[in-house]
């Protein structure tokens, strides 16, 4: 019996790593209420719970994607431990009191994962900030090429460049600007 649960969970994680909607939904369904109870019972709202749960899902997602993840505990336990850390941190940041801590779930140590996540999260915010400050058409141009994986020719047509070479030059300039924006703040940290 225990074997099959483990196998199921490994399948779920593999699906999660592919951003497969069904697996993600399954994990979501199985664990959301637990995390919501944790947050809501400890001075949080349903919206807080949604945030915290989704951030924990991102941590799990990264972990699953990294390929080095060995399942040494249930997904539930992992998510709970991560969510607990995230919520404690958020409470601390908002100076809300936490002296009466109601919790019931099993926990494991997730210190290392939290540290890497924190760094990745900062990078994410920084990237978001940089891209938002890039301005048009750079933002759309880079997004079309790097995120939507459109060909240079399509991009040239869509943005109205006379040929794909011009679009390429523009893309390069935009990328350099993005890098400059990103690293100007990145190195300060």
């Amino acid at each position: 019996m225990k074997e099959t649960i483990l196998e199921q969970e490994i399948l779920l994680l593999k699906g999660l790593a592919r951003n497969d909607k069904k697996s993600t939904e399954e994990i979501y369904k199985q664990n959301y209420n637990l995390i919501q109870a944790l947050v809501v019972n400890n001075n949080g709202t349903a919206d807080d719970a949604r945030d915290i749960f989704q951030e924990s899902m991102v941590v799990l997602f990264e972990k699953a994607r990294s390929g080095t993840f060995e399942l040494n505990c249930q997904i539930r336990t992992y998510l709970y431990s991560v969510a607990r850390r995230l919520w404690l941190k958020r409470l601390h940041q908002q100076n809300r009191f936490t002296e009466e801590w109601n919790d019931a779930g099993n926990m494991i140590r997730v210190d290392d994962d939290m540290d890497t996540h924190e760094q990745k999260d900062q990078e994410y915010d920084l990237m978001h900030h940089s891209i938002q400050h890039l301005g048009e058409p750079c933002k759309s141009l880079l997004e079309a090429f790097y995120f939507q994986k459109k060909s240079m020719q399509d991009i040239a047509d869509a943005f109205g460049y006379t040929n794909s070479e011009n679009a390429k030059t523009q893309k390069y300039k935009c990328l350099m600007r993005l890098k400059k924006l990103f690293f100007s703040r990145y190195n300060k940290k």
Binding site: N19, K21, T24, E25, Y28, K29, Y32, N33, Q36, V40, N41, N43, T45, A46, A49, R50, Q54, M57, V58, F61, E62, R65, F97, E99, E100, N102, K120, E123, Y124, M127, H128, I131, Y146, F147, K168, T169, Y172, L175, K179, F182
Partner: protein, 377 residues
């Protein structure tokens, strides 16, 4: 010139990373990396940056799918989350009609201005003092109706209180407070007796329809459920309910509606028994007025120790409350009954106050959203 090279190199690096190069090209490129440390450095730096960009993209997509999943599961009721549909729809509609709306509003505004300008120019200039007189007469009129209504109320109250021991004045149409955040309130049975319809209003003045789901005239406790569909489940209840008996001289406080606005009062426990030695209730020294019936009585920790239900007429400041223990008993009695409403059967009183170390101002602030005015007609 240099830029052109860089563009080519960047393109090559990107193809190298994504594995689009043919084996020959790849070999050639790797040799170039070995020979030229500057190129090598660029490859490393660019790879890193691409990784960060990719992760950004992946996370963004992941966030989008998480939000979709959340909304789906919430609407299907598979997770216990307040569904955001109403709000999201509102935002959508707002965005859709904002232009039309603003044009319509400005036209309406212009028309109103025009009309008032025309009216103003046409109407004979009357001295403003007359207006004031008129106002006052309307005021006195409303005052009179209010007085009449109060007199009628008083008559009613006198009638109902005549059945009770004459020394106690029970106020009617009072206060209630939340015992389950899905919208269950407790108040006094005498507040809602002979009620045809009931509404409750929160501290902000928003009214909700409600109905009586349980009354116990002996213990003088009634449970009222908010049936209004506009009512949204509240955040978890900050105060706890304690079975414990408070000590003599213990400070207590209450929030209630002796008038249209919520009113705070404090006092102390003056006797462990109630009126005429009643053991169900306790006596407190507090300024209680009509409308305070059904208010929560809380101790310093933010635990509800009872429900205010009356005062002694011939003594100033003497009031009584029903101990929380009775509420526990009632809920467990309901649980044993088979026919009772499941929404009450499943209620579990919060035992842990989250107000323990807060100042009184903060406590009152957090509690006031959970204390409602009960309006009876």
């Amino acid at each position: 010139m240099n830029e052109q090279e860089n563009i080519l190199l960047t393109e090559a690096i990107e193809r190298y990373i994504s594995g689009e190069m043919s084996p020959d090209e790849r070999l050639h490129f790797e040799n170039l990396r070995k020979e030229n440390s500057e190129v090598d450095q660029m490859v490393v730096a660019h790879t890193l940056f691409m990784q960060k960009m990719n992760r950004y993209n992946e996370w963004q997509k992941f966030h989008v799918s998480l939000n979709e999943i959340h909304d789906n599961l919430a609407t299907q009721g598979k997770i216990d989350s307040p569904s955001l549909k109403g709000k999201a729809k509102l935002v959508y509609l707002f965005n859709k009609y904002k232009r039309v709306g603003s044009i319509a509003a400005s036209i309406a505004g212009l028309t109103a201005l025009l009309t008032s300008a025309i009216l103003w120019s046409v109407t004979p200039k009357t001295p403003t003092a007359q207006w004031q007189d008129l106002n006052r007469s309307i005021n006195t009129l409303t005052n009179k109706t209010r007085q009449q209504a109060e007199e009628i109320n008083n008559l009613k109250n006198n009638h109902s209180s005549s059945m009770r021991p004459p020394e106690i004045t029970y106020s009617s149409g009072g206060t209630g407070f939340i015992i389950d955040n899905k919208g269950l309130l407790v108040t006094n049975a005498h507040v809602i007796q002979n009620a045809r319809s009931i509404a409750v209003a929160n501290a902000a003045g928003v009214e909700y329809f409600a109905e009586v789901v349980y009354t116990d005239p002996v213990r003088d406790i009634a449970l009222v459920k908010i049936t209004d569909k506009d009512f949204k489940t509240l955040p978890p209840i900050p105060y706890g309910f304690t079975r414990k008996m408070a000590d003599l001289a213990e400070p207590v406080f209450t929030l209630g509606y002796p008038r249209e606005d919520i009113v705070y009062n404090q006092g102390y426990l003056s006797s462990k028994t109630g009126y005429n030695g009643d053991t169900l209730s306790c006596q407190i020294e507090i300024a209680a007025n009509r409308g305070n019936s059904g208010s929560p009585i809380l101790d310093n920790n933010g635990d509800v120790i009872g429900i205010l239900n009356g005062r002694q007429k011939d003594q100033e400041g003497v009031a009584f409350f029903i101990r929380s223990r009775n509420l526990y008993n009632i809920l467990s009695e309901i649980k044993d009954k088979e026919k009772a409403d499941t929404s009450i059967q499943n209620v579990r009183l919060n035992t842990r106050s989250t107000l323990t170390n807060l100042s009184r101002q903060q406590q009152a602030k957090k509690i006031q959203d959970y204390v409602f005015m009960v309006k009876v007609s």
